[in-house]
């Protein structure tokens, strides 16, 4: 019996460049006009720009409208539980660091149900990219407030307005020195694609929070609302400057900055594990002598 063996990510690449066709075109279950379409497009562009073949990439998602996104392109895909994409992605990456692991989910998924995993993933600096479709609302369950909803946002579940303060994912990520923190907007697809490309290329935890209008349930933070406010960070914004990044991270309201807000280079979580230096855990055998040696300690 022959078992497949994995070509290292850098080797065995086919000669021709990857194209958008490699990632296919599928029918979606989204509402017409939803920002998700642009986001999907940007992700595909970024993958192509990264020259990654579909089988080299593993998407991991949770549950929500956002989390369906990887169903609509060609790639390996583990569509797990609501809120749990980050731990599943972390496990997969540790098992096989040769995979490009991208977690893609909604604001509810990542910052609500999955809040604890979000801060833990930052602290690990695990080398995965997290793309958050941040529509500031729970879409799939029909429009309740999400952690990023504005304080006072009214919904059927919050008829007197959302009583909590808004969660600022960028602020927290920068405050925690996450190694790559960026914001995009679905209304600027090329810019977004380029950010995602950089995030994928980045070694370490990369967050791309994407402002994504939900045309059905968020009548406050609409396409026009974002469009009016969003601006690209000036060239002289230095993402290595934490103080400046913190300031930028808390800019929200009349003006919303887009782009790479903070970035630092530091060891990844994988670097802590000697066993990962020699490659993937998958398929690696432990010699019986090693096992016998371990067992000896019970003599």
């Amino acid at each position: 019996m022959i078992y497949p063996t994995q070509p290292p990510l850098t080797k065995g690449r086919r000669k021709s460049m990857v194209t958008l066709n490699d990632y296919g075109q599928y029918e979606t279950a989204w509402c017409p006009g939803c920002g998700n379409f642009q986001l999907l497009k940007a992700v595909k562009q970024a993958l192509v720009a990264s020259n990654l073949e579909p089988h080299q990439v593993l998407f991991v998602s949770g549950i929500g409208q956002a989390a369906k996104a990887p169903h609509y392109l060609n790639a390996n895909f583990f569509n797990g539980l609501h809120g749990r994409s980050l731990p599943a992605a972390t496990g997969a990456k540790l098992a096989n660091p040769n995979l490009k692991v991208i977690a893609e989910s909604g604001d509810g998924c990542n910052y609500g149900e999955g809040g604890n995993h979000f801060i833990s993933a930052i602290r690990r600096n695990i080398d995965i990219t997290v793309i958050v479709h941040d529509n500031q609302v729970y879409g799939l369950t029909k429009g309740q407030a999400s952690p990023t909803s504005e304080h006072g946002f009214t919904t059927k579940a919050q008829p007197s307005g959302y009583p909590s303060e808004t969660f600022n994912p960028i602020g927290i990520a920068v405050a925690m020195h996450a190694s790559f923190v960026a914001r995009g907007f679905t209304g600027m697809t090329d810019h977004l694609a380029e950010i995602i490309r950089q995030a994928i290329a980045h070694k370490g935890f990369s967050l791309v929070d994407v402002l994504q209008p939900c045309v059905t349930f968020n009548k406050t933070n609409t396409f026009a609302w974002y469009k009016k406010r969003c601006y690209e960070l000036p060239k002289d914004h230095d993402p290595a400057n934490w103080d400046a990044a913190m300031k930028t991270a808390y800019e929200w309201g009349e003006k919303i900055p887009l782009g790479l807000i903070y970035k630092c280079d530091k060891p990844t979580f994988e670097d802590n594990f000697e066993v990962l230096k020699s490659g993937s855990l998958v398929g690696a055998d432990t010699p019986i002598e090693t096992l016998n040696e371990i067992i000896k300690q019970y003599r």
Partner: protein
Amino acid sequence: MNRERTINIVIGGEAGQGLVTVGGLLSKALVRSGYSICVNQSYQSRIRGGHNTFEIRTGTDEITAPQEKIDLLVALTNETIDIHAGLLGTGSLTVVDAAQNASCKTCFHVPYKELANARSMNIAALGVVSCLLGLDEELIAGIVNESFGKKHPETAEENRAALTKSYEWTKANNSRFEKLPQAPKREGRLMMNGNDAVALGALAAGVKFYAFYPMTPSTSIGLNLASWAKKAGLVVEQAEDEIAAINMAIGASFAGAPAMVATSGGGFALMVEAVSLSGMTETPIVIVMGQRPAPATGLPTRTEQSDLEFVLHSGHGEFPRAVYAPGTVEECFWLTHRAFHTAEKFQGPVFVMTDQFLADTFRAVAPFDLSKYPAVRAGAPLDDIKTPYMRHRFTESGVSPRLLPGFTKHLVVTDSDEHTEDGHITEDLSVRKLMVEKRLKKMKGMMKETVAPELAGVKKADLLFVSWGSTKGSVVDAAAALKAKGQNVSTLHFSQVWPLVPEQFVSALEGAKRVVCVEGNASGQFARLIRRETGFEIKEHVRRYDGLPITPEYIIRNIPPPL
């Protein structure tokens, strides 16, 4: 329970007094000397203080269960004497510090102060006991040196002196306590507890990813694995919570690393959503459930078997699972190993249920022949792959050959939503029906591999004990004691509690005059399960739920009067 064959030693004192150290060293010495042991550790949920015991039952023959009656009590505090007074017999000895001013009929006053300084008091106690048992002094000294020599070379000499002095003093002063009979030569035996064996079983099976959140009594499985991680090439990660632990493990398993988690009741409660995820995505995962008394936080450091029904029905919806319940330390090893193979073969959650008693009980076990326990190979060989590749392809057996992402150009896709054969989300309700049937079909294959319950004794006994999991040894021992008294007793022990295959055991149940189910819970969960699956109602029970393990004596005391 024959004084000539076994001696039950209890070392009692406060947490922090080092009684676990003494107990561990003594256990190792006994095993190396060729004796069998059964250790029962009793401790409180605190780090210092409280009253703890380390109990070693030892002898020349195989020992399967703890014992209540105490032959040799090593009392590090006077409290120990008071607590255990009722369990001492006339031939028993209580080793006490002469300075403690304890007075009791069985007291053997040791002038520790004269034999050792404060730091090596423990070692002195070890010397005393070793001598009383008739163990070889050099052997003990060697063991002490192995365990302290490297870490604390400065105390090596001190320890050695304390050991010799106390050993010699005891030799000179003991006239009462009869030492152990000579043990047979037994080469290469190992001393380990249930958790060690679980960890080793996983290692043999090729575990590559282990995630956990600390929880008694499962924690030491992770500590073992962590200590071998570099050498054996695996990743061990302490997660932010149990939810993360199991989702990480499932992610790792999906990517191709044989993966395991271990926890206890409350932690497992947080994992049950992911148990269902494993069932739906058909991702192998081994889950070790170290039971302890519940509900809620319960008694964190005690034992119980009250999570059977919880595990059997954990996770929403319907999907196959296998549940092993080792009865011995050896079974902890090979059933954990087997759990990995079952998980990989049937692609879903597989459980190993232990409890605090089994997790912490040290035993002497024969060395494992690892060539008989091959590692799991994750994923299917290329020969099994049909194109177009579909992760959840319908098959005869319900099992779809799984590929690992990134290893071929085939895309591996799965979904926690109901999905089509290619793993993508669907709302097609006819596919839904077929997928439910596909998943449940795997149960048939699992049933072909169910570990049959072990019937010991005649088929038509007057009394049949039914048991599962960690109580095995006590049930066997109780049966032996009753048989010795002329009763016609058999035992039927389940080391796999799901799926059950009634043909394997119903005739044994029906053949016995009386059937008594022995289990460590208050509502008779296993008896209920038997009835549900076979219609056979077990009407008599021995149950325990005070946090202590079921002992042979407890069983005999609690057999209901004949109906």
